[in-house]
Subunit: 421 residues, 2 copies
């Protein structure tokens, strides 16, 4: 249909019509709810959405209660905070990067937000709509969907190979689930490490290739490190800023959700280095990615909840970090149990090391959604169909270690007993 | 400069370059900080940003503490909530609309968010970039700035008459600070009542004219009712949905910030009626404003903080509402004191009734920013320059009643003693 230019009334953003289907996780919820409605009393074990299950740690709880008490007292009450976040929290994060990642980040370069999903969805809005986007394939659906909704793609192809105009960088067993740099020019590159969904962790060498590419092509890397706290092998990079030159080309997005249990509390951050100069900006210019993100956040956003930020300061204390390590260890033990289960049943399993996600091949080349239904119908276990993360995810499924131990064990038991292979 | 189409690297969103200056409130902060730095020990009284000063009420505090305790216990811990918000909170809001506004809203039509600023900034993204935007002039700057950043305007004019492509609807003394419907066709119409900054409250009759216009032109009204709890004259409309036909053409955006003290806690809501059908959608279609906002929120957002939502449920209890009425009464007494002060000094004062904002003419036709500086330098009182809200705001200033009584009284005293008229 030709583009409508005659003014005949309010029209909806036409790019949304390109979005292939509902967002993955609501789709899963729909199928699970339909199954549950038809099977009352059946125990459904949810290893689908990467949703935390363990309670918040004592130090976080204490800091949040104190945060509320401050709001109850006229002498300590505060209203609007800075849109960029509480200064003390930004300082603690800067210190944390230095202490644990040997990375120098100025506190002004850290923007506190209500979570990595929001930031990874909104970050594209400060870039030109004509910029070409590259994503790892498979990838967290938010990267692609937000760019499609904003007009950086054509339609979804009939053969399910993805959206035209988006450059998919296949990640599969043959490349260790990390892509080569694109052969063509691209402008914006989303990289997630430890990867959601594959669980693969990029090495320094792998990241360096992308940093070198980005600097040569004047591209910007959008680096999602939401799972970096799950890296136990300390030689693996937890931040992209350990790579020389990354401050000139990379934005890092991260979160308190998965390591401190903040999924429902909502707290994350983005780092936009002042040294990042795009193809059309100059050093010290009023128009740099840093100043643009400042403008975006002050105009469209009003700061993360002050109570969540109080909790975040608690999570970053030595005691808070130690307590969170307990959560991480617990979920990683879950991951080990799940790995062992699927391996013993003959599945080909990736991930689950330095990452809370397992990435598993479906048996007999089954389609991802077919295997999703099989897992729901036979052992009543919810997993995430790999194809929901992109065309190269077809034939895989993601298993999340974010669950209580008893659910993991019940799931493993049910899979062993009820999954017909 | 011709548009750049050659791929030479990541480029910034060119529409941001059109934004005339920094967002109004950070600009004010900058000038105040500069003054403070040069005048150590001087008491600065802030009646600029409409930022709440009284502590949260007992019921809200209690509900939030309980919300945190739930997150501390494995049995009651919850992770991700629905992006659209906690069902119980949506139900309470629906009941509240029925009880207090005689308006029928389905709970599925209510989308909980982290605040009215975010929603009023993001709502435009579900509409076509070619849609023509109309705003009250003066208006809350977020309406214009987010549309400019998203490409619905040309540049800012040299004579400060605003952005080309945006339809400004002048609100001034001669029309009682409420505009006539546009003479031309427009697609998206922002209306705020009680108005920020003028304090004017639209009547049923005034709103009806816009609803009739919107239905005839297939336009959509974006109705901001963030200050509706300040309406004491109960014959004035607190929701647009009391107007026949509004469900077919209006989205209402509102907030817990100003009446429950949630400015730092972050909680708001938007109502997108399922009956709202745009020029390019059909009833029950997969593409309606309701389904589009659902998709937007599930894709770009991850729900408001569960602790803020627990507080919101507390605020909507009978006890919570009664306690909040105490906050409202307190701020409205402030408004009365400020009105009396400026009137006695001979100023022409609007607003301050059914609204926490006063809208005052500068003396001797002074420019708004000049009077801002005069107020900062002489009585050390921060007000908001009217021109920051749009071209028709020139020659006015906004005074906010959101302050502690002692600050209001000190401000009044200092104005009487130190302002040289």
């Amino acid at each position: 249909m030709a583009e409508q230019t005659v003014a005949t009334g309010a029209r909806l953003n036409p790019h949304y019509r390109k979005l292939a289907a509902g967002y993955l996780f609501p789709q899963i919820k729909k199928r699970v709810n339909a199954f549950a409605a038809g099977h009352e009393g059946t125990r459904i074990i949810r290893l689908g959405i990467g949703d935390t299950a363990l309670p918040l740690t004592a130090t976080v709880i204490e800091h949040m209660h104190k945060g509320i008490d401050k709001l109850a007292d006229q002498k300590t009450y505060t209203g609007y905070g800075d849109e960029q976040g509480n200064t003390a929290l930004r300082e603690e994060l800067a210190k944390y990067y230095w202490k644990t990642r040997f990375v120098n980040v100025e506190k002004e370069e850290i923007f506190i937000s209500d979570g990595a999903k929001c930031d990874s969805g909104n970050i594209q809005s400060i870039f030109d709509v004509k910029n070409v986007v590259a994503v790892q394939d498979p990838a967290y659906p938010v990267y692609v969907d937000t760019n499609v909704a904003s007009g950086r793609s054509g339609g979804f192809s009939i053969d399910l190979s993805g959206y035209s105009g988006i450059v998919y960088m296949p990640c599969n067993a043959s490349n260790g689930f990390f892509p080569s740099v694109p052969e063509q020019h691209v402008d914006l590159i989303y990289i997630c490490s430890p990867n959601n969904p594959t669980g693969a962790v990029a090495t320094d060498e792998q990241l360096k290739r992308f940093v070198d590419y980005a600097r040569a092509e004047k591209a910007v890397i959008l680096f999602d490190s939401a799972y970096s706290m799950y890296i136990g092998d300390n030689w693996l990079p937890k931040s992209i800023y350990g790579i020389p030159g990354a401050r000139e080309c990379a934005i890092e997005i991260s979160s308190f959700s998965k390591w401190a249990g903040f999924t429902g509390v909502r707290l994350g951050w983005s780092i936009v280095p002042k040294a990042l100069i795009t193809a059309d900006s100059k050093p010290g210019d009023a128009h740099t990615a840093w100043s643009m993100w400042s403008r975006r956040q002050t105009t469209f956003f009003n700061g993360a909840s002050s109570i969540a930020q109080a909790g975040g300061i608690g999570a970053l204390t030595d005691k808070g970090l130690m307590e969170s390590q307990g959560l991480i260890d617990y979920y990683m033990e879950n991951a080990k149990i799940l790995r062992d289960c699927f391996r013993r049943l003959g599945f080909v399993v990736y991930g689950g090391k330095n990452s809370p996600f397992l990435w598993v091949m479906t048996p007999n080349s089954m389609k991802s959604w077919d295997f999703f239904d099989k897992m729901l119908n036979e052992p009543h276990v919810v997993i995430t169909p790999g194809s929901g993360f992109g065309p190269s995810g077809e034939g895989y499924f993601r298993v999340s270690a974010f669950a209580l131990r008893e659910d993991i064990l019940a799931g493993v038991e049910s899979i062993k007993s009820n999954l017909k292979l």
